[in-house]
Symmetry: C2
Subunit: 343 residues, 2 copies
Amino acid sequence: METITIKDIARLSGVGVSTVSRAMNNHPDINEETKAKIMEIIKEYNYVPNNSARNLKRSQSRTIAVLIKGISNPFFSKMITVFEGEVQKKKYSFILQQVKEQEDEIDVAIELIKEKRLKGIVFLGGFFTHSKEKLKQLNIPFVLSTISLTEKFEDAGYSTVAVDDVKESYKMVDYLCGIGHQKIAIIAASEDDESIGKLRLEGYEKALKKHQISWDSKLICRMKPDIESYSMENGYAVTKELLESGKEFTALYAISDSVAIGACKAIFDAGGRVPEDYCVAGFDGLDIAYYYQPSITTIRQPVEEMARESIHILFDIIRKKAPERNIIFPAELVIRQSTRKLQ
Amino acid sequence: METITIKDIARLSGVGVSTVSRAMNNHPDINEETKAKIMEIIKEYNYVPNNSARNLKRSQSRTIAVLIKGISNPFFSKMITVFEGEVQKKKYSFILQQVKEQEDEIDVAIELIKEKRLKGIVFLGGFFTHSKEKLKQLNIPFVLSTISLTEKFEDAGYSTVAVDDVKESYKMVDYLCGIGHQKIAIIAASEDDESIGKLRLEGYEKALKKHQISWDSKLICRMKPDIESYSMENGYAVTKELLESGKEFTALYAISDSVAIGACKAIFDAGGRVPEDYCVAGFDGLDIAYYYQPSITTIRQPVEEMARESIHILFDIIRKKAPERNIIFPAELVIRQSTRKLQ
DNA sequence: TTGTAGGCGTTATCAA
DNA sequence: TTGATAACGCCTACAA
């Protein structure tokens, strides 16, 4: 089956290619009858225009892309839906593009911009330690959403939407201390983490300091590098080891809800109870933290609002209504069954 | 900043465009020195070739796409990783393409095939009630993975990888009956479901029939159409209603693990215990079913193997090594804490 | 309202 | 080993 082109349709309809083009793209100055006839032929022959040719020719488009690193992270699920809806509301089309683990999101973005003539980009997830110069290559508006930035990047001339990981993490540990816990273990990211893992650990340290609890390196557990990071499995493995080490603790703070759930399972398997024997807390506010038994105390990030705001900022920049913005959303400490006051 | 093209690079390097093209695409007959020089210029000017132009010109490519309906379904997470790895092993490039809820996967596929000159496609998720004629428009090899098909589509000249939903569902309900349950409620899909929901319900009915348990329509609960289907939230709402109805039952079979978890939560909230007061079972074999407390009895689908096999079949077809195949994988009944023998 | 023709940025053929 | 040049399929002045 030969691939059919606009020329074929033109020939079959007995018109010129430009008329076919006009028919397809809803141009105003075209006779309704000829348009109808052409559309019929198109349908009959199942003609589908080639996007590469379109994109190549067009100098403009109305499309926004969201690039996600870690596309199956449940934290992003709801955000994706919001992005899609918000973009659609603006009558733009929406592309969701996965960035593979080993890929550089900026490189992917640059390619995509040229290929699809994008109007704007939202980056979701990942680390982001790119030079300003590299970011400049993206010469279209973009927003970093839910991406932790090393401090030096603050006010760097681009927009960001995030929570203050240090502060929110502090909030959680402060709460745990406040209800009497002194021996608080943390499941942090692996040593080489320069991202949220580091920031959340920093919040932990600050809170301990405030409560004058001395630092115990044996309570700082690191996710295992050979297991998927931030996974339930990792939380399970780390907690199992902690329990077997015999090190005493009354609360366990996992820097993500998934890890917290893995931790709970390890405790149950060892015959422990949550929160009676060990309190467990997470971070992120995933749905499952609510549905888990016991429900998990966590820091809930306002994901929907963050997604919505990301798109708003992006369109403000596109429409030159506003300059870059750096929005820090407040997150919420949600106290549930997995933690209790120490008697 | 003007967008820089291959012509600019040619001019800047003092060579012709074809030489630049050869340098970029690792063509054999090119002087190593000129190649090096060109590559340097490319780097210096951050030149990135336009994919649309490439795709337009190329008549071939080595790329495989996976089209997913419901990209944030946790059931697909592991499969995605496997797909990516397997495709890479074959030295092909891999594209993950989301299909939006209201989109037609075949239409998306047809566009993508033309745009990217795809070599093959895997369809993941969704319903699939397309006519043969429509499928014929995809004139490249493809595999339907984890897609439920209405029976009339069996042996229809295309490849599929799936489990036998009726049989596996039967297995679960047969097990529940076998350990003494007579009043087994089911949380099925909404009425209009023509997909796995229908098949799994069919398995339930068959098992009841075998055990000569009379059919009780009050125990057939349907997911709420106004809540995301197959979600924990939906399971929660349905179960809450069931409990409040006062209808007696000893076991609750949810046709997906997520729904089962929502169901458990509703039972807990009502002061019930699992499995002591109500046994709960799920379907799919998500990780969370193992990590949940109590761990959930489920039917585990061999997702990794299914993903791997999908790619193998696809490449066999591409390389003309084999004709279409329809593989039914066996799933496994995994008995865990959420179910118990009725005394 | 319609058709012709040029060009979007590449790759590939063919001479040189 | 290299460089012109003709496609690839579409859109869009511009002319009719």
